[in-house]
Symmetry: C2
Subunit: 284 residues, 2 copies
Amino acid sequence: MASMDPRPTAAQRPIHLKIADDLRMEIERGELREGDSLPTLEQIRERWRCSTNSARGAINLLKSQGLIVTGRGKPAVVRTPPGKVVRSSDRHQAEKDLAAEPEEQRRTVGEAETNLGMSITHQRFTSAYDTIEAGTELGDLFGIAPTASVLRRHYEATDEQTGHLLSFSTSYMPVALVEANPALLDERNEPWPGGTQHQLATVGIEVMTILDKVTGRMPTTVEGQIWGLPDGVPLLICRRISLDAEDRNVEISDATYPADRTELRFITPLQQWTQKPDDWNLGR
Amino acid sequence: MASMDPRPTAAQRPIHLKIADDLRMEIERGELREGDSLPTLEQIRERWRCSTNSARGAINLLKSQGLIVTGRGKPAVVRTPPGKVVRSSDRHQAEKDLAAEPEEQRRTVGEAETNLGMSITHQRFTSAYDTIEAGTELGDLFGIAPTASVLRRHYEATDEQTGHLLSFSTSYMPVALVEANPALLDERNEPWPGGTQHQLATVGIEVMTILDKVTGRMPTTVEGQIWGLPDGVPLLICRRISLDAEDRNVEISDATYPADRTELRFITPLQQWTQKPDDWNLGR
DNA sequence: GAGTGGTCTAGACCACTGT
DNA sequence: CAGTGGTCTAGACCACTCC
């Protein structure tokens, strides 16, 4: 098997890969720790006897893998991953419970509080509503005509100091479902006390199941800028579908999260065995 | 605000970013479709009047964002994302149900069948057991001493044709929990009919809750090779913790998935409202 | 102002694809 | 064997940080 392998030998392996591997091993062995400076380009050139561009190739590779961060005038340093903010699925039940509370209760728990361990005063929260045609994708999901109207609600929060995004999501609901309560179509009613689940309640909809679909991809250049992401940090992409008692899709929400500072957490309760397996507790 | 912005003007913006943006816009506008060839380096040099290295810079950027794939001798092409394999949390309940079935039932449903829509004959499945010290991280999670023994089970499946990884996971269980049934410590008993939940049943443990923690990061060079990943594809990282009726952690499983071909799906059932919200069904 | 990374050029050679 | 991308060199200039 190894003999069939057309891999280049060590000698002809690209030098920038060799450099990057050596540096990565130093990081993994702890010789370079978080926050430490990497060798300068000059030092890399001497140590591995290569040109500037090859040294840069190695640095770029490590950067694109999220291992280091760089900046003009400063040496590249080993990246210190930020702490992760947890977004747990038990929030779904908590929001449903909240929606059944009387208004004065609901008011006390704001929407913005969903967002991170950051002081609310430093974030700017915006929401915008519009109405669009469903199109084929949303039409299929909601089981409505592609020409039917869909209410699109866009939410984002930004850090006032840095201007960077802190949260970003878009929600879709069929207009036919919510127009019975015109207040739901007006963005001036945001933030709505009790959130989406209470909004749906005002038109007689109780959400019974929530389905989260999670995947990931790299940000575009623009996305990297607006989130303030260093190179090499992926985005987590989450589509949340809310279903009512008849398993109708009543709301779809798309959200993106920076993977380096986000942990999505999902809890699955299992039903108790009605009958234990026949070799239950063999051990005693 | 804009006036304070020290961003370079269009003129002094790095040329490789400009090239990459222009090409990305062509892709987004549909002028370049999936599978289409990008301009050659030569053409880029002419069109944007730059050097080879700058043209390469643009190509590398688009590649690291997962938008294109490249190969020697072939022009770069717009990437066609592979179909996504769904991994749903309802499998947790299905596995629990299976574990309660008699052995002949359990045998019919193999472990390998968990893996993708691929013919089983073309994949090679391996498992390896060893016993390690818990260490502080696992010790904390299991509530055992850092010096206590933990059974580590490693599973992977590879595509026999390409040699690429198809699935990869590592599972941890405290030895103290499972040693009552010595068969559990022997990797020659893999694949175990009924899976981990049945294995735990033989030592008197019923899993009642499963907690999934999901995040993402870029693969290292080696990880990219063994999964056969093109550049610009992140890994989804999933840690699954199984809890018994007393909320003890009884098993921890770490798995990684290539984000471009994986969708993780989580279902959250909500409890019915005992009392409808007081402005229920305002609309009629 | 010295040191550092970021950008850029012009051109060479090699590895691979496809005709 | 022509065309293409991958690697590499040697060196220039600029932007930025830190002393």
